[in-house]
Every structure is written in structure tokens, then in C-alpha cells.
């Protein structure tokens, strides 16, 4: 095999594998190879060290070294809370510099968490936090079983429970009562429209008689519908006049819904499972009603105006995140729909909500929406903000999810159709799971943005964590030079812990779900 004449070559033995050449490793190697290997890199290294020196050192000095500790250890080994007022955080002489005033945060801590929630009722907030934690944690840890039950409890049962826990109040009726009230309201609306038409028509000639005629027709329609729902209203009245209206209504609803489910899922042949699930669900609901005394007025009502601090931040952000996902999925699918009406609605909805600042949305929801709604139709201020935020972030989610949908090759849905899956099943089982996996980073980005944007609710008179922190600066008892910085630093740390947690968890989920790409 020497010389240009060697044209053919046949390998006699395969070359065995060898280990990679020994690299220059260790700290010295890292310094030489990465930090100091060229004049530019030496310059960059020096600049980075200076940058770190001028940022990290003062921050540590302010937050830890010079800071006033919230607690001190007394000689007999007991922790003692430091300071009742600003005195501890004032400089004693000219040489002495004072850093972060942690006793201020310690003193205001409960206000930061609960806002103006009455102190005697704060156990309800704690219990809600606790329930959220014990329901959410098993949901986040993949190997734990019963994910469907867990998700049902967290996403459906928990919000209802949290509402009655945090806000208080009880029930007047149940399924029958609600349905009957809703339908009666509907019939009342029809009647009202009809009578308005008749009245408008009375004044004018020509078209007036037509309006009158139309109005009478509408009234007739209303009467017809009220006749149709008469058995329901009668049942409702009978229940309301009984000794235990809530429990009678509850039992009626439980029986009706369970029987309907039993029949719908195949009756005697295959319906037993759904019958049992339904009965167990109602048993659980009944237990909660009994435990919390919802039939006897429930817990004392704490108006949402009194809620505040971290409680509001969590309520707004969790509701926003949980509600915006289905809205986003629906809008993303709608935008790709072949039905023009749905597509144009989705595009319009997304563009309008994305084109408007969140502050405008919150102002609109809080101050202008009540002007448009009928007088007897009141929505709580917090709920208005929640709806605004959910719709706003839903529009953002929609575009993130649409990005994921675009990444799914057409062959995937074709293959799903070819094995007989319907559009809904194709979307739910094939397209959406893959699309969502592609956009986890984008979704979590939106979640984190939403979590921090909740601080904007403070401009519509809802005091979230940041709002409470800023409100606490006004307290003259704690007016010291560094309270402002300490408060913001504390708020920043809380936000960071939660956002960083979300970010890390999303990385974990990404790695887990992308196992199939390995």
C-alpha cells in the first residue's frame, strides 16, 4: 500500500476502538482553555470579574452584612424578634451604615401574605394554601398514581371549595334551584323584550303595528317556554318551602344527574361505572356541604375587597394560568378552523386582546363593564379582574399554542384519520399533545409573564403582594431610609422563587416528555 500505484485496498483487520486523547483538564486547564486563551478573552474575563465585583458585593453587603436582622439570639438561647418600630433601622452615628431593614418585613409579613383579611379568619387562607399544596404536589410528581382523580379534585373541586373557604357564605339551593332560576330569568328576559316591542309599536303607525304584532308573538313565546319549564319551577317552589331546601334540592339533583348519566352511558349494560362515579361525587359534595355548614349559611363572608397580599397574587395568577389554557387551546384551534365564522371570530378576538395593554383591560373590566351590565347584575371586583386577565392571557396562549400546531406535520393527522379517529379525537390524542410539548418553553414564558403581570391589578384597587408592599411604605412607624429597598427586595425574592420554580419544573417536564426524541 505504498506509492501512487496502490489503487485497490482491502482491509484485513477492523480498527479497534481507542479512548479519546487526554485533554488538559482541571481548573488550570479551564482557566487556560476558556478564560485566558487570547487577549480578547483576557479582557472579557477581567471585565466580567469587575462587573461581578461591583454588583454582587454591594448586594450581599446590603442584604446580609449591613442588614438589621429580624431576630437575635438571646443569651439563654431564645430567638427574640427585633424592634417594634423604625428605631432599629436608623444609623446610630455617621460611620455606621445600615443595610436592609428585615425587622420591617417581619413586622409587615402577615400583611404581605393576607392583606386586610380579618385576623380571626386567616386560618381559612392557611387551610386553602395547605389544600392547594397537598393537591398540587402529587399532580406534579409523575410516578404518583390516580392522576385523573387528582386533576379532577385540583381543577374542579378545589376552586369551588376555595371559593366557599376564602369568601364564605352558603347555599340557598342546588341544581334544581339554579336551573329553575336561570330559566325563569331567561323567560323574564323574553317577556320584557316582547313588552318593550309592544310599547314601542303603540306610538308609531305603519311599522308600529308590525312591531306590536312581533312583540305579542315574543310574549307568547315567553309564555310558551314558561309553560314548558313549569314542572321545574313547581318542583323548585316545593323544595324551597320544605324544611331543608338545600338538602332536598341536593338529593333531587343527585338522583336526576346520576340517573341521566346511568342511562346515557348505556343503562343496565354498561352504565354502572358512571352511576357509581356520579354517586360518589355527589357523596363528596354532600360531605363538604355538611362539614362547612353551607346549608346553614356557611362561614362568615369576607368581601374580596379585604383580600390582599400574596393571597391575591396567587388567586389571580393561578386562576389566570388555569383558565387561559383552555381559552388559548380553543382560540388556537379556532384560528385554524375551516369554518370562516369561527376563524374570523378567533382572529378578531386574539388580535383585539393582544393589541390592548393589560392596564386598559383591567380598567375596562373594573370601571366600565358595570356601566354596560343591567342594574341587578353585579359581578365582584376581583372576579371582573380575573375574567379580564384570563381572556387577555388566553389570547397570548393561543398564539403560542398555534406555533406548536404549525410544527405538527400534516401526515400526523392524516394517519390518525386513516385509522378512523374523528377530528376531535385526532386533535385531543395526536395533534394537541405533540403541539403542547413543542411549546412548553413558550407556555411557561407566558405563565411567568402572567405571574408578574398580576402586580398590575394594584391599579384597580386590588392589593396584591406588590401593592401591599408599596402600601406598607406609607407607615410612619417604620419610616427608615432603607425600608423601601428592603420591601422591594423582599417582593422581588418572592416573585423570583415562584418564577424560578416554574422554570425549573418546566425543564423537568420537557426532559421527561421528550424522552421519545432520544
Amino acid at each position: 500500500m505504498s506509492g501512487p500505484a496502490a489503487q485497490s485496498f482491502v482491509r484485513q483487520a477492523l480498527i479497534p476502538e481507542r479512548s479519546a486523547p487526554v485533554k488538559v483538564t482541571g481548573l488550570i486547564g479551564f482557566l487556560r482553555a476558556r478564560l485566558l486563551n487570547s487577549p480578547t478573552n483576557i479582557l472579557l474575563t477581567v471585565a466580567s470579574i469587575l462587573l461581578l465585583w461591583f454588583t454582587i458585593v454591594p448586594a450581599v453587603k446590603f442584604l446580609l452584612v449591613d442588614a438589621v436582622s429580624p431576630v437575635t439570639l438571646s443569651p439563654d438561647w431564645k430567638l427574640v424578634w427585633n424592634g417594634k418600630d423604625r428605631a432599629v433601622c436608623l444609623a446610630k452615628d455617621a460611620e455606621h451604615t445600615v443595610g436592609a431593614c428585615w425587622p420591617f418585613v417581619a413586622a409587615k409579613f402577615s400583611q404581605y401574605i393576607y392583606g386586610f383579611y380579618p385576623e380571626a379568619e386567616r386560618w381559612r387562607v392557611n387551610l386553602t394554601f395547605f389544600l392547594a399544596a397537598i393537591l398540587l404536589l402529587p399532580l406534579l410528581i409523575p410516578p404518583l398514581p390516580a392522576k385523573t382523580l387528582n386533576a379532577g379534585l385540583f381543577f374542579i373541586a378545589f376552586p369551588v371549595l376555595a371559593f366557599f373557604l376564602l369568601r364564605g357564605g352558603g347555599l340557598n339551593g342546588f341544581g334544581v334551584g339554579w336551573t329553575s332560576d336561570l330559566l325563569s330569568g331567561f323567560v323574564g328576559g323574553i317577556d320584557e323584550i316582547g313588552q318593550k316591542l309592544v310599547r314601542t309599536g303603540e306610538g308609531a303607525a305603519g311599522i308600529g303595528s308590525l312591531l306590536q304584532w312581533l312583540g305579542k308573538l315574543v310574549v307568547l313565546l315567553g309564555t310558551g317556554v314558561s309553560g314548558l319549564i313549569w314542572p321545574l319551577t313547581w318542583l323548585n317552589r316545593a323544595i324551597q318551602t320544605s324544611a331543608q331546601p338545600v338538602w332536598f334540592d341536593f338529593a333531587t339533583t343527585a338522583i336526576a344527574v346520576s340517573m341521566a348519566l346511568f342511562v346515557l352511558s348505556g343503562g343496565v349494560r354498561t352504565g354502572w361505572r358512571s352511576l357509581i362515579v356520579s354517586l360518589l361525587t355527589f357523596a363528596g359534595i354532600g360531605l363538604v356541604i355538611a362539614l362547612m355548614g353551607l346549608d346553614r349559611g356557611g362561614l362568615p363572608v369576607v368581601d374580596t375587597g379585604l383580600w390582599g397580599g400574596f393571597l391575591v397574587t396567587l388567586v389571580v395568577s393561578v386562576t389566570g394560568i388555569v383558565a387561559s389554557m383552555p381559552i388559548g387551546i380553543a382560540l388556537a384551534l379556532g384560528r385554524r378552523s375551516t369554518i370562516p365564522l369561527i376563524r374570523f371570530f378567533s382572529i378578531g378576538f386574539i388580535e383585539i386582546w393582544r393589541g390592548v395593554p393589560l392596564i386598559t383591560v383591567l380598567f375596562f373590566a373594573t370601571y366600565m363593564l358595570p356601566l354596560f351590565l343591567p342594574g341587578n347584575f353585579k359581578i365582584d371586583g376581583l372576579v371582573r379582574a380575573l375574567i379580564g386577565i384570563a381572556l387577555f392571557s388566553g389570547a397570548y396562549m393561543a398564539e403560542v399554542i398555534r406555533g406548536g400546531l404549525l410544527a405538527i406535520p400534516r401526515g400526523q393527522s392524516e394517519a390518525a384519520s386513516a385509522i378512523g379517529l374523528s377530528w376531535w379525537k385526532t386533535t385531543a390524542l395526536i395533534v394537541m399533545p405533540q403541539a403542547l410539548r413543542h411549546v412548553i418553553p413558550g407556555l411557561v414564558n407566558s405563565f411567568i409573564g402572567l405571574f408578574k403581570d398580576t402586580s398590575l391589578v394594584s391599579i384597580v384597587a386590588l392589593f396584591d403582594l406588590l401593592g401591599q408592599v408599596r402600601a406598607s411604605f406609607a407607615d410612619p412607624v417604620w419610616a427608615a431610609p432603607t425600608t423601601l429597598f428592603t420591601g422591594f427586595a423582599f417582593a422581588g425574592m418572592i416573585y423570583f422563587v415562584f418564577c424560578f420554580g416554574m422554570s425549573r419544573y418546566s425543564l423537568f417536564v420537557e426532559n421527561r416528555l421528550n424522552a421519545h426524541r432520544g
Binding site: 401526515g411 394517519a415 378512523g420 379517529l421 374523528s422 379525537k425 395526536i430 410539548r437 426524541r517 432520544g518
Partner: protein
């Protein structure tokens, strides 16, 4: 050949905008018959078999599959698709599901088979395509040939009466073509009705009952393999064969 047609296609016409892709296609397929469709690229052969399970809509004509009629309105799509299995050039396995889940998805969600039974059946089909030991892997962990065999198993789990193959070996490395073709030969041996779009003339010669040659959206020649290769009638067929058989 048309004693017991399981697929009947009459006067099929399709346009993409103004472009007339399929022109007056008439084909009857008897039960158990294996038809190979070949032709130059762009001749409409893929579009044609995709019409049979309504992955493509068509503007004129009638397709009857096992007595279920599919007109231009595609009313009975779902019924037809349950009877027709399809294997694609690019496999189109679901990458987020394991091989076994790929094969149990349709039985569970379309036929409402209990999960255990569906898994047992899927394992049976995976054994038939000779990859039962890969059942719990993800598609991306398999070779192209293995993926295509999983795709065949996935189509079989719905116990289709007709199988459509859209260039099943075109995306494969030469070394893997044989394992897929062998699977298809086995399937043919079991009496499955098959419509295969392919350039594998060896397969056509060995397995097909009839070869349909298409060009410019129309059927140019239909013949038995022996006649098709030895004695092609149409000039276009002769040209095509001279191009591919060197």
C-alpha cells in the same frame, strides 16, 4: 375479475383548482386481489389511492368500499376509513406514543375495545410483522424498516378489509426495503386485498394480480404482471419500462 368487487371506483375525477389531476378513473378490485399502481411521479397515483379512504376529496365519481358508498360529499367517511387501512411513505407513526400505544390507539378509541384486549391483539400483529420485542420503544428508537412494519401493524389492528400502501419503501435505505416487502408479501399470502403504489417492480412481478399504469392522471394500461413486463401495449408504458428496467 369483477365477480366480487370489494372496492369499486367509477368515473373518478379530481381537480386541484383548475388542474385536472384524476381523469375518469374506473377500477374494480376483487376480494383478495393485489393491485400494484405504478407510473412516473406526478401521474396522480398517490392522489388516486388517497381518494379511496377520503384523505383527498374528489369532485366527480363514486367509490364503493365493501358496500359503503363514498360520493363527492364524503358523507360516510368514518365508516369507509374503518374498513380501509393505510400505510404511508413517511410512516407517520405517532412519535409521542410507544409502538404498542400506536397500535392500540385506534382499537381503544374507535372500536372501544378494552385496553387489555387491545394490547393483546396489538402484540399479535407486532409478532406478525416480527417486532414484538420493540413494543415499548418509541418510534424514533427504531430503524426506518422497523417503523414501517409498525405502521403496517398499526393499520392491521383495525382489521381492515382493504390495505392501501402509498410508496411504502421509497423513504427507506436499500438495506431495509426487503424486510418491509417481505412483510407485505406475507400479508398478500394471507389473502389481504391490497392496493400498492410502488416502484418496486420485483414486488409487482411476484405479488400483483394486476398492474395499473398511470400517467397524467389517467389509467394508461392495466395488465397482468407477465404481460405488463413482457408485452406492454401502450407506447407510454414501453417508454416507462425502458426507463426503469435497465
Amino acid at each position: 375479475m369483477t365477480i366480487d368487487p370489494i372496492v369499486g371506483i367509477v368515473g373518478l375525477n379530481k381537480w386541484y383548482g383548475d388542474f385536472h389531476v384524476l381523469r375518469d378513473i374506473d377500477v374494480d378490485v376483487a376480494k383478495g386481489e393485489r393491485i400494484v399502481i405504478c407510473g412516473p411521479s406526478g401521474s396522480g397515483k398517490s392522489t388516486f389511492i388517497r381518494c379511496i379512504n377520503a384523505l383527498e376529496e374528489f369532485q366527480e365519481g363514486r367509490i364503493v368500499v365493501d358496500g359503503i358508498e363514498l360520493g363527492p360529499q364524503l358523507r360516510r367517511v368514518d365508516e369507509v376509513r374503518r374498513e380501509v387501512g393505510m400505510v404511508f411513505q413517511s410512516f407517520n407513526l405517532f412519535p409521542h406514543l410507544t409502538v404498542l400505544e400506536n397500535c392500540t390507539l385506534a382499537p381503544i378509541w374507535v372500536r372501544h375495545v378494552p385496553k387489555k384486549d387491545a394490547e393483546a391483539a396489538a402484540m399479535k400483529y407486532l409478532e406478525r410483522v416480527k417486532i414484538p420485542h420493540q413494543a415499548n420503544k418509541y418510534p424514533s428508537q427504531l430503524s426506518g424498516g422497523q417503523q414501517q412494519r409498525v405502521a403496517i401493524a398499526r393499520a392491521l389492528t383495525m382489521s381492515p378489509k382493504v390495505m392501501l400502501f402509498d410508496e411504502p419503501t421509497s423513504a427507506l435505505d436499500p438495506e431495509m426495503v426487503k424486510e418491509v416487502l417481505d412483510t407485505m408479501v406475507d400479508l398478500a399470502g394471507e389473502g389481504m386485498t391490497m392496493l400498492v403504489v410502488t416502484h418496486e417492480m420485483g414486488f409487482a412481478r411476484e405479488v400483483a394480480n394486476r398492474i395499473v399504469f398511470m400517467d397524467a392522471g389517467q389509467i394508461i394500461e392495466t395488465n397482468t404482471p407477465a404481460n405488463f413486463f413482457a408485452n406492454p401495449q401502450h407506447a407510454r408504458t414501453k417508454l416507462f419500462l425502458s426507463q426503469i428496467l435497465r
